[in-house]
């Protein structure tokens, strides 16, 4: 029997002990004596969330295919266990071997959202690894970050030895081989960092210095040694068909957020919405081959026994062979008690037809993400969804028996006026009107429209990276305008309105476009007890405000300050393929409300064609 790191008594005291015991179906066990590299792969949030993440499953599978590497998983201990581990000084352990993470060669942390930054410090702290990279010695693992937030890693630069910018399938093995050489050589820690800096996509923050202008903006970022490139190039998998994809994902005992087979059908998005970071940093759009997807679906369902399969991509409707794929899934698995879930489908005749085959129309809802309330503002953000498309889609759905609609919008977008805010209410009203056009005896009771607004956060590497963010008060005012307008309308009883928290949005904005100066605030907030910030019941805005105050860091500098076109951004040392010139052009077009066509309509020359694959070379 595998020994566990935690005692029986602790495991029977904490909530959901299954989070900490490992040993799940398809978890990979190896003999530590037979491997050269031990890699702890961490998602810094609670187990059920971390286990749902596809990226980790891909890398876990990829690493473990090599006999000389053992990759294991680590998640954030929940607050109950966190307290016990601190009190009893129990070092954080990896799930498979239950060995302390501090004895590993690497600790890889995927950074999916800004509000997990204090959890990263928790992981390091519980692992008994110095929080500051500069304090680590040869005895400590190398801490490497990856994932979407590394497109601006600067607020975390002090805490990481390395960052991997881009898709992990490409150069990780090269890095591991260098590591083995370094380990055998007995050379100092710095030597490995320099060697690593020459691997494409690897960013070693300690090998760069940043100078600032008097106004606090970045003047320049300079490598301090020849090994570190001036620009770090994002890495992408050009051929997403002939690459790693896990056939035996690990299945948790307790229900994970994604308790299903996830089939990633493509990477990237052709659309170019101007607020969307994923749409820019994952360029170019690359589709997986249909046959590969069919084979993966078979294998994964067989090896997991999951009762559900879900397609994953930024915009599934744009997958060129979607019809064939969906019909295959329905024909092949629908009769075997397998549910098929199709998120991120554009509502049209095709999707309504498929959805009526795979789900209970009366219980499911339609989802639209117009993001903005008027056509003018939708043109500004380059969201190619028109009111007519929404009303037609909703109309068809209502005729087909649906009566629930979810609408997603953002408030605080650049150039937004009161008319745009009210437009959100008006659009919801028109959808309700469309529903009540159906004769009473033919419709299915009242319609239920849920309008949700989040607050807009400008993200690096988007055309809106120059945008000013609203203050908290302004955000709440805008939500108030929407709410008031909805309550003033005839069909108010059919429309429910939810809005996001404003405090946490402001903080997200600071961390998203922050620089190295923000690191001290993150550390201070963590020391004050901030943890699990993405869980509203554990988010303490007051502690964060104190941390900013005490560190003398001005929040407004990162949020509401106007940014000049030529400002050097902290993330400009990364080259994502999409050029700064393209982003500037898009920012200007946005202000004029000029729409840019998607990659399949016409190429806008964004720069991502340098990767030599995907949609750029379809024709």
């Amino acid at each position: 029997m595998r020994n566990l790191a935690l005692s029986d008594e602790i495991l029977l005291t904490v909530d959901k002990p299954a989070r900490y015991i490992g040993g799940e179906v398809n978890a990979v066990m190896k003999d530590p004596k037979t491997v050269d590299v031990r890699f702890a792969m961490c998602f810094p949030d609670v187990y059920e969330i971390g286990m749902s993440h596809l990226g980790i499953q891909i890398l876990y599978d990829m690493f473990n295919r090599r006999d000389d590497i053992w990759c294991e998983r680590v998640y954030s201990p929940w607050v109950d266990l966190d307290k016990i581990m601190r009190e009893r000084k129990i070092p954080l352990f990896a799930l498979e071997s239950q060995d302390p993470v501090k004895d590993f060669d690497f600790l890889g942390i995927t950074i999916q959202y800004e509000m997990c930054y204090t959890n990263i410090l928790q992981i390091l702290d519980l692992a008994q690894i110095p929080l500051m990279a500069s304090e680590r010695t040869r005895e400590h693992p190398f801490v490497i970050g990856g994932g979407p937030c590394t497109y601006n890693p600067e607020p975390l630069a002090d805490f990481f030895d390395l960052f991997y910018i881009g898709e992990g399938e490409t150069h990780y093995f090269e890095l591991m081989d260098l590591y083995k050489r370094w380990k055998a050589s007995g050379a100092p820690r710095e030597d490995f960092l320099k060697m690593a800096a020459s691997v494409p996509g690897i960013y070693v923050p300690s090998l760069y210095t940043v100078s600032y202008h008097e106004d606090g903006t970045v003047e320049a970022m300079m490598p301090v040694c020849p090994e570190a490139p001036a620009k770090v190039q994002k890495q992408v998998v050009t051929d997403v068909t002939n690459t790693y994809y896990p056939e035996k994902p690990v299945i948790s005992f307790i229900k994970a957020t994604q308790d299903r087979v996830v089939l990633e059908i493509q990477r990237g998005c052709i659309r170019g919405c101007r607020f969307c970071q994923a749409g820019m940093v994952y360029r170019p759009t690359r589709e997986r081959d249909l046959d590969m997807l069919k084979k993966s679906a078979y294998a994964m369902l067989k090896n997991t026994g999951h009762e559900e399969i879900s397609l994953s991509s930024l915009s599934s409707s744009d997958y060129s062979r979607l019809g064939e794929l969906v019909n295959f899934l329905i024909d092949e698995f629908g009769s075997k008690g397998i549910n098929i879930s199709l998120p991120s489908l554009r509502i049209d005749a095709f999707s309504l037809d498929v959805m009526s085959k795979v789900q209970d129309v009366r219980k499911s809802s339609l989802t639209f993400a117009p993001e903005a309330g008027t056509q003018r503002l939708r043109d500004v953000i380059n969201k190619g969804l028109t009111e007519e498309m929404i009303l037609t889609g909703a109309g068809q759905a209502f005729e087909g028996g649906w009566n629930r609609v979810k609408l997603y919008f953002m408030l605080g977008l650049p150039t937004e006026t009161e008319e745009d805010m009210k437009g959100i209410a008006h659009l919801a009203e028109k959808i309700a009107e469309r529903y009540y056009e159906i004769p009473k005896d033919q419709r299915n009771g009242k319609c239920q429209i849920v309008v949700s607004t989040s607050f807009f956060v400008p993200k690096p590497f988007t055309p809106f990276q120059w945008a000013q963010m609203c203050t908290k008060e302004e955000f709440l005012h805008r939500a108030y305008v929407v709410n008031h307008e909805i309550k003033d309308q005839l069909n108010r009883k059919s429309i429910k309105y939810n809005w996001h928290e404003a405090d946490v949005t402001v903080l997200e904005g600071i961390l998203a476009r922050g620089d190295r100066k923000v690191a001290s605030v993150i550390l201070r907030a963590y020391e004050k007890g901030c943890l699990f910030d993405s869980w509203s019941e554990y988010f303490h805005n007051d502690l964060w405000l104190q941390a900013f105050e005490e560190c003398g860091v001005d929040m407004d500098f990162y949020t509401v300050r106007p940014r000049a076109m030529e400002e050097v951004f902290p993330w400009d040392f990364i080259d994502i393929g999409v050029s700064r010139r393209f982003l500037e052009r898009e920012w200007k077009r946005a202000q004029k409300g000029t729409v840019t066509e998607n990659c399949r309509q016409s190429c806008s020359g964004c720069g991502a064609a340098v990767y030599g694959g995907g949609v750029c070379f379809e024709r």
Binding site: M1, R2, L4, D8, E9, L11, L12, P17, A18, I21, G23, E24, V25, I251, F253, I254, K255, L301, K302, N303, T304, G305, H306, E307, G337, N339, Q359, D360, K363
Partner: protein, 236 residues
């Protein structure tokens, strides 16, 4: 066809709760490609029911569930196919066809065997085995049972069908199932109180050995293990 499955839950799987074990088996059945029947409707679920939920922290050599299958491989093959997809901590012990008139596992449960031990450092003072014997000699053991409609007094002594002590292990055969279910903890709590100590939540290590159906009469019990109600399926 309805099939009764017996399995063992041991080691680290004791931290996995009953509902998660159910989910685990649903997935395991699909991995083993056993054609389990589904309910009708838009979200069909496997027709599967468990005999008696086992609490978190307990191990067992006598867990049962019933499943309805479209057709069944031989018992030997089903057991080996399932065990090929199990994790350490769960082992399938038997797979037997249930006669049509047999009640489901849950309704059939009448008694259970348990091994109970004190965890190291939690046992009462030396010589407790002898005092336990005296305690069990009482004609009645009254406990307060908390129910939905408030608490009430209950004599649990008649619910203990058999017992003995071997070294540090207390063996108990007790009434189980929907009619009157005695959890070993309740008895041990009463004993601890008679020792003048409070039973802390980690004091006991409990292992379930078997679940029984009662095929006797009102007057005389005849307990047989639940698996004996089914029949081995031979090779076609």
């Amino acid at each position: 066809m309805n099939v009764r499955v017996k399995f063992r839950k041991y080691g680290n799987l004791k931290y996995i709760g009953h509902l998660d074990v159910m989910r685990y088996f649903q997935k395991a059945m699909r991995r083993a490609e056993i054609p389990v029947c589904y309910s009708e409707g838009f979200s069909p679920h496997m027709i599967m029911s468990f005999a008696s939920p086992l609490g978190v922290g307990l191990t067992s050599n006598g867990e049962y569930m019933d499943v309805r299958v479209e057709e069944s491989p031989s018992s030997a093959e089903a057991v080996s196919r399932l065990n090929a997809v199990m994790v350490e901590g769960i082992e399938v012990l038997s797979w037997r066809a249930l006669p049509d008139k047999a009640g489901n596992a849950m309704a059939s449960v009448a008694a259970a065997d348990y091994d109970v031990r004190f965890r190291e450092g939690y046992a009462p003072e030396d010589g407790w085995q002898e005092r336990f014997r005296i305690f069990m000699g009482r004609p009645s053991v009254t406990v307060i049972k908390e129910g939905k409609k408030g608490s009430r007094e209950l004599d649990i002594r008649p619910l203990i069908y058999d017992w003995n002590i071997c070294g540090d292990v207390i063996f108990l055969q007790v009434s189980a199932g929907s009619a009157s279910n005695l959890k070993p903890e309740l008895l041990m709590k009463a004993f601890s109180e008679s020792e003048g100590m409070e039973l802390s939540p980690f004091s006991l290590m409990i292992h379930r050995r078997e679940l029984y159906a009662d095929q006797g009469t009102e007057e005389k019990r005849r307990l047989i293990p639940l698996e004996m109600l089914g029949e081995e399926i031979g090779r076609a």
